[in-house]
Point group: C4
Chain length 224, copies 4
């Protein structure tokens, strides 16, 4: 009963957060998805497969277990569900996962190249470079494994999956969406900077100082 | 009588789908057009020539035969009608055709260069590289011939017509619009990736696996 | 009296056409302007100086003579008025003038480089390359002279004024706006194409055939 | 009492001006901020930390002294407040300050490279090149010092803070927002121009003539 109410609320949150993806120009057509863990249950809420962003509602979000099997909902879950489920199963501190093919981040991923830490915003949010994950086929848990292997023990909440796109994680689905938005923003800025020369690296001690301050002092205390 | 009702409905669909072109930033001014085949008749529905996107309605869409000759409607058909008609005449499985001058796809076409398959999204939707078609003058059926010669027997639903723009085909007009949206998206991402180095190719076996899965497992069963 | 009514109508047209500039992302802040000739009088209607696009109304458009001197209106005319006035005075077939600093066209102008004719859309609308005009200071008639010297006897309705921006002309203000929109679109596409290699030129005979067809056969007969 | 009324009005102005940052695509998520000096008091009005742009109201803007200490408001001030406060304390003619990570300007800053004066718009608004300020950690007054040291005695109202983003100043908050909008616009145009060659410099005498005219003759006399 408590779970039922929680799920209702999470369906709404996940539906609302999907609106951030087109608003921030991270997706086209039906690509991309946001999921959230159902706290206290081995369940997640995610977008159904092939549904347009302007058709997303709390009601058509679907619930699966941590194998990606449909538990509640009318439609088939996103074809990326296995990847999301694998992350929740193996990273217990993760409360939200986002996947996009956002243009600039995906462009770095197609070259298999990490985004270097040359902006204070990268130090703040990602704590260093944004890493590249392995190439993996879609559908089984090989994408999930690639995400977990790359992000486990890494400061960055974002991974550039080779030739594919971006996955981001967060304590909440909102935090994962924020990471997806900032990942594309810095991917674009560093790309453009490098087109006309080499951006200056930030010294490691400064990266550490920026990361530490941002994790503890940014935002309002209650919303951090 | 049945045809009349079908045409009424298709006029509405074609008018609605035109809104996707500016929404996805594929067109400027009056450029670009969507058409749909009228099932069971040698007819198509298409945008009239030189009409602005915010003036498009089901009522001002026009109906032509498969020579491009006006059959029903107040206005002159798009100057690209002959190309659309030629495709319907020679590719019976095609139910919809879209033409745009979308920026990145057209930029590849101006160099006469195919878009290489370096993203899982390209493997999914296009099944390999997106090919280039010949240079052709506008107005007669030379563009139509170029499209059919290039796409006949090719997995890709999109062709980059040299120095001109993109034509996409689909089982329905909606599928052709989707192909046009994804074509520009991958044209942009691969362009940006290549600006700073060489994107990694996806192995042919992986391209085949991705294409096969996407054609059979993506989306909801009823809408595939 | 007839002139008064005509001016009222032209103020409205000019105010409405200004909305196309931000809609097509050709301007920021208060930059850019559209003007129209008042037929049968040595007068023009233009935007006042320093007014934001969301504050533009038919009522605050201003009327000047062909020296750029204010004849009717509450506000000071655009600081580009002298350039517009000079064009109307020396090119009697021109009914509308547009000025923008649109990004890609201005980028070509900063290098003093013409946009080559490598797209059918350039052949259609501009009849060949889009030429560069001289560097000129703002305020007196030196910009106007540069525009007229460059476009006189040229097919192109657009000129890239060096280190400055674009001026376009047309039989009507709407036609000049169309030329400004298409100029930026092709400036962007050709720029992007050239970033990864050399676009293929279109043969002169094909440019001529495309230009001739487009000037006579595109659009609806009444609106051409 | 008079101060209280003034602050109420300034809170509204500052809230309204924040809407220009996303409208002009200068910011993502909660990044960026606008502040205004409270005339006749050692106070400033600024955005709170970590608040989304669509949640900004006059009521949640905060008031601090010129050390950045909260004087009035429910929320914690922006983490950039110390930098704004330092500028007001050391540059008495400054009435408004804006900070963004706008893409192209930040890309120049990551290379530590000034934007050269190759457009009449740069000469008009910035009076010459847009300079680079030092690298500085966030939180204390080192950013403020870097801004003041760079802009003191410089024509430019904008500084590119290395590896970080842009700060702009103005006689009013609106003037500082205008400088932020134009800075990104010219950063983008010059970047794009340089991608395919070297833009032509404008002679110093012409830069001076353009700057002088624009500072005295542009806009309506009352709003200059």
């Amino acid at each position: 009963m408590i779970i039922t109410d929680a799920i209702k609320q999470i369906r709404q949150q996940v539906a609302d957060l999907h609106a951030e993806l087109p608003r921030n120009e991270l997706v086209v057509w039906t690509a991309g998805n946001v999921s959230a863990r159902v706290p206290g249950a081995d369940l997640l809420v995610i977008k159904p497969s092939g549904v347009r962003y302007d058709e997303i509602t709390a009601d058509n979000m679907v619930v699966t277990d941590l194998e990606g099997t449909l538990v509640d909902g009318e439609l088939s879950p996103s074809s990326d569900t296995a990847a999301h489920a694998y992350v929740y199963k193996h990273m217990p501190h993760v409360g939200g996962v986002v996947h996009t093919h956002s243009t600039y981040a995906t462009a770095w991923s197609a070259r298999g190249e990490a985004i270097p830490c040359v902006l204070t915003m990268i130090a703040d949010e990602f704590g260093g470079e944004i890493p590249v994950g392995p190439f993996a086929l879609i559908g089984d848990d090989s994408i999930g494994r690639g995400i977990v292997e790359t992000l486990q023990g890494h400061r960055s909440p974002a991974v550039l999956m080779r030739n594919h796109g971006v996955f981001t994680i967060g304590a909440s689905a909102k935090a994962a969406v924020k990471a997806a938005v900032l990942c594309e923003d810095v991917a674009r800025t560093v790309h453009i900077s490098r087109q006309l020369g080499e951006p200056v690296r930030i010294a490691q001690a400064d990266v550490d100082a920026l990361y530490d301050r941002y994790q503890h002092a940014y935002g309002q205390e209650s919303t951090r």
